[in-house]
Every structure is written in structure tokens, then in C-alpha cells.
């Protein structure tokens, strides 16, 4: 069949109910022997499953492997010389889709140098109840200060305990994760401390 546009298409004629319906294929006729065989087949299947080993992972004792890129709880990293990587730029807080990161920056001074940059994070808090573990903070960070580690067992007993403070986030990472991050080349050499306070007339803009 061809319509005015020359397209070949399947016609869909109007039908009365039941008209033109192809007859159902002749299946096996129901019989007692067939029913009993089906019943026995089912029982055989379940019995053979009964004697197979269980597939359950005994969770608290036994854990399934996680991907290297698994996004669990956050860590704030330090340089090898002990200075914090975080420079208080708040890009992580800006990138966070749920707004669970609070960064309050403060100026580094020569007497109190916390990070190699101009500023450091005086307060760094993550509300883990809000966090969706998307990893955008990790992507946004210019100095690879925040990473998402492998831990996922984060349950606790009060809402307050889910506000992870800077002290908690600065806890050392599992050594294997640390080694992996260093091997990936994210361990950029410690930059020389910037002069601080900057020359008079405000901050310089880095190109």
C-alpha cells in the first residue's frame, strides 16, 4: 500500500472486537499428568536450590569490595610538611549542590601559618546528613584538599554528630587511599609560601 507521499506503511483497518485476531496457538492440553509433572518440576527446582550454598554476604563480618573511586566520607588533606592544603577559597561550598559545606576563611600570618596559601579555612564543616556524596567538592578544589574516602558506615546517634568539624575531617586517611592519591600525581609539590600579608593595596590576582 502506498499513500499520497509514496510511503509504504502498514494499514491499520478498523476491526470489530475479535475480528481478524489470529487464532491462539494450540498449546499443550491440560492434563493431570502434565500438572503433576509441572508440580514435580517445581518441587525439584526448589529442593536443588535448598542444597546449594547460600549467596548472602555476612555483612558486618564480611564486606563486598568497593571501587577505588567510591565516594564515602570526606577527608581534608595535608601536605607532607604538615601544612593544610585547604586555602579557604570556598569553591567546594560553591560547587556543593545541597549546600552542606560551610567554610569560613581567615588570613594566614607569619606567626600562625596553617596553609601555604594566602588564607586558610578557620572553620570547615560538612553536614553529612545533607551531603549527597556527589563528589563535586572534590572536583572543584584547586589544591586537592578535599577528597571523598572509602568509608560508608557513617551512622550515628544524634544530628549534631553528623556535622563533621575540621578536626574530624583532618583525621588521617587510610594509608592505602593516601598512597593511591599520591600515585595519581595529585600530590603536587608544596608551593612556596606566599608573602603574607600581601603588598599594600589589596590582593594580587593570580593569572
Amino acid at each position: 500500500m502506498t499513500d499520497e507521499n509514496g510511503n509504504d506503511h502498514d494499514p491499520t483497518p478498523l476491526r470489530r472486537p475479535g475480528e481478524g485476531v489470529p487464532p491462539k496457538p494450540e498449546g499443550e492440553k491440560p492434563s493431570i499428568a502434565g500438572d503433576v509433572a509441572a508440580l514435580a518440576g517445581g518441587l525439584k527446582t526448589t529442593l536443588s536450590e535448598f542444597f546449594k550454598p547460600v549467596v548472602t554476604t555476612m555483612y558486618p563480618e564480611e564486606k563486598t569490595p568497593r571501587s577505588e573511586r567510591y565516594r564515602g566520607r570526606h577527608y581534608l588533606r595535608r601536605y607532607d610538611n604538615g601544612l593544610e592544603r585547604c586555602i579557604g577559597c570556598e569553591l567546594c561550598a560553591a560547587a556543593c549542590p545541597v549546600g552542606c559545606i560551610l567554610v569560613i576563611a581567615a588570613e594566614n600570618t607569619d606567626e600562625k601559618r596553617v596553609s601555604p596559601g594566602e588564607r586558610y579555612a578557620k572553620t570547615y564543616e560538612i553536614n553529612m546528613l545533607r551531603c549527597i556524596f556527589c563528589g563535586y567538592c572534590e572536583e572543584a578544589c584547586p589544591v586537592q584538599a578535599i577528597v571523598l574516602g572509602p568509608e560508608y558506615e557513617l551512622s550515628d546517634t544524634s544530628r549534631e554528630k553528623f556535622i563533621y568539624t575540621k578536626e574530624k575531617l583532618l583525621e588521617p586517611m587510610p594509608p592505602d587511599v593516601e598512597a593511591r592519591l599520591n600515585a595519581k600525581g595529585t600530590a603536587v609539590p608544596t608551593p612556596a609560601p606566599l608573602p603574607n600579608p600581601p603588598p599594600q593595596g589589596g590582593r594580587e590576582t593570580t593569572p
Partner: protein, 337 residues
């Protein structure tokens, strides 16, 4: 001992002690039946089942029991409060009453029973019929349409299958000539050189098959668990029950399961007689075998549709049971003259 038993006071002492022992044994057996079912169903689905509380999860039922006992005893608004409370007690009382007449072989000439009456099996049928009241009244008094539907389904189902259940055993009574359960177990044949008890399933295989199917329906177990059909009826008559009242229904279901398993062993598989196996072990082994069969069926078969259930009961099982009686009668007359 016999003198003490025949003494009017001593008789009651013996019966009271026997009841206490039986209550303890049946309740323990029920708890471990639930454990056994959960583990067996788990294994069928390739998971371990309860394994946390105690060794192999054996204390799971204690934990569940404590949890359910401490739940609030809640009665929904606008219910018939008296019936709502009485219904589960009827269920559990009827379930326990059946054990009054079930004999248990302890050793070769030692049997245990509370009442050894000559219509034992009829009494068990009477008690198992009481279960209909428990479910129907529970469904009626809950003031919930799902409960009511579950109760009505249960009434129709139990009445249909009661007939097949009763008729399936008539050939056994015709062969043995007694309704006393001990007589049925002790039924002795003289076949050539062999003289002794036989499993009666050899003489009434069709009766056994009908009994097995009707018993599953009678205990509301899958695939005949239409009264509580979780997917369609949100739990049927159990919908509004929680806490200890729920425990009573639950307990009754599992006691009934053990009862029909024990009856299958007593009526068709020679009770406590099994070759050289000590009687009490033989009896327990047979009961566990039938319990496993019920669990196995539950793990295998989907629930029947309501019309299929009715068709099976009225158009297949009942005519088959009647034909079985007629054929057995003809054969008996031909053999015994």
C-alpha cells in the same frame, strides 16, 4: 501406677501433669517449627535465614516473642471489642485441644496421651473446625473490609476442604475399624511371613494424597493461604491484629501445622513404628518430614486463585474422596467376604 491413675484424685494429678508437659513440648516444638520454616525457606531462596540470635539463630523465637509481648495491645476504633479479643483465643485454644487426643509413642510399649478416647480423630476434626470461628470472628470484629474479606474466604475455604479432609480418612477407618488413633497406629497385618504394623499409605494411597492437600488448605498454609493473602488482602483477618493477639493466631497456625503433620504420620505412616528406629525418634522424624513438606510446598507454589481453590476442593478432591470410599468398600467386601 495403675492404681494411682484409677484413683479419682490421682487421675487428675496425672492428667494435669500430662497437660503441663504437653503444653511445654508443643510450645517449644512450635517455636522451633517457626525457626525451621524460616531457615528452610531461606535455604530454598539461597539465603541463610535467621542466624544472629544464639547458635544457628535458635534463640530467634525468644527474641521475637519478647518483642511481640512488649508491643502495645492495640484495639482499633469501632470494633466489636469482645469478639475481637475472644477470636484469637479461640484459635489458640482449638489448636491446643487437638493435642489432647494425639498419642505419642515414647518407647516400644510406652505411649503418651492425655485422653485415649475411641472417637479421637472425630474430636480433632471438631476442634479444627473451631478454627473457622476464630478466623471468621476475627475478620468480622476488626471493622476492616480486608479483614472481613479474609474471614469470609476462610469460612468458604475451610468448609470446602473439611469435607474432603474428613472423607479422605474414611477408607482408613473402614480398614482399621476404629476411630481411636492408637488403634490406627497399631493396625497389624498378617501378610505371609510378615506380621506387624504397616504404614497405611500402602492401603489408601489416594486417601493420603487427598489428606495432604486438604490439610494444607485446612491450616491456611501456602499455596492455600487465601484468608491472609498479603498481596491482595493486606493480611486478611490478621490485618488489625498485633502484639499478643497476633501471637495467638500465629501460634495457632503453627500448632495446626504440627497437628496435621503428626496426624499424617499417625494415620498413614505407622506413627512411631519405623523398622528398628526407637519409637519417639521415628515419630519426631516423621513429623519433621511432613513439616518440611509443607515448608517446601510454600517455597515452591504460588497462591491459588480463589475460583481454582473452590474448583479443586469441590470438583476434584471431594468426588475423588467419595470414589475412594466406594472402591475401598468394594475391595474390603471382596477381600474379607
Amino acid at each position: 501406677m495403675t492404681g494411682f491413675y484409677n484413683d479419682p484424685v490421682g487421675h487428675w494429678v496425672v492428667v494435669t501433669v500430662a497437660i503441663a508437659v504437653l503444653l511445654f513440648v508443643v510450645l517449644t516444638a512450635t517455636a522451633y517449627t517457626v525457626w525451621f520454616e524460616r531457615v528452610a525457606l531461606g535455604r530454598i531462596q539461597r539465603r541463610p535465614g535467621p542466624n544472629r540470635v544464639g547458635p544457628f539463630g535458635l534463640m530467634q523465637l525468644a527474641a521475637d516473642g519478647v518483642k511481640l509481648a512488649f508491643k502495645e495491645s492495640f484495639i482499633p476504633a469501632n470494633t466489636d471489642k469482645v469478639l475481637y479479643v475472644i477470636a484469637p483465643t479461640i484459635a489458640v485454644a482449638a489448636a491446643f485441644l487437638s493435642w489432647a487426643v494425639i498419642p505419642i509413642g515414647l518407647w516400644y510399649n510406652v505411649q503418651y496421651w492425655i485422653a485415649d478416647i475411641n472417637i479421637g480423630i472425630l474430636l480433632i476434626f471438631a476442634f479444627s473446625s473451631l478454627n473457622v470461628y476464630a478466623i471468621l470472628l476475627g475478620g468480622y470484629s476488626s471493622n476492616n473490609k480486608y479483614s472481613l474479606l479474609g474471614g469470609l474466604r476462610s469460612a468458604a475455604q475451610l468448609i470446602s476442604y473439611e469435607i474432603a479432609l474428613g472423607l479422605s480418612l474414611v477408607p482408613t477407618f473402614m480398614i482399621v475399624g476404629s476411630l481411636r488413633l492408637r488403634d490406627i497406629v497399631d493396625y497389624t497385618v498378617h501378610w505371609g511371613p510378615y506380621t506387624g504394623p504397616i504404614p497405611l499409605v500402602l492401603l489408601t494411597p489416594i486417601g493420603f494424597v487427598i489428606y495432604l492437600m486438604a490439610a494444607v488448605a485446612e491450616t491456611n498454609r501456602a499455596p492455600f493461604d487465601l484468608p491472609e493473602a498479603e498481596q491482595e488482602l493486606i493480611g486478611g483477618f490478621l490485618t488489625e491484629y498485633s502484639g499478643l493477639k497476633f501471637v495467638m493466631y500465629y501460634l495457632a497456625e503453627y500448632i495446626n501445622m504440627i497437628t496435621v503433620s503428626a496426624l499424617a504420620a499417625l494415620l498413614f505412616f505407622g506413627g512411631w513404628y519405623l523398622w528398628f528406629v526407637p519409637p519417639v525418634l521415628a515419630f519426631v522424624a516423621k513429623v519433621i518430614f511432613f513439616l518440611f513438606l509443607y515448608i517446601w510446598l510454600r517455597g515452591t507454589l504460588p497462591r491459588l486463585r480463589y475460583d481454582m481453590l473452590m474448583r479443586l476442593g469441590w470438583k476434584v478432591l471431594m468426588p475423588l474422596a467419595i470414589a475412594n470410599i466406594i472402591v475401598t468398600g468394594i475391595v474390603l467386601v471382596a477381600v474379607q467376604g
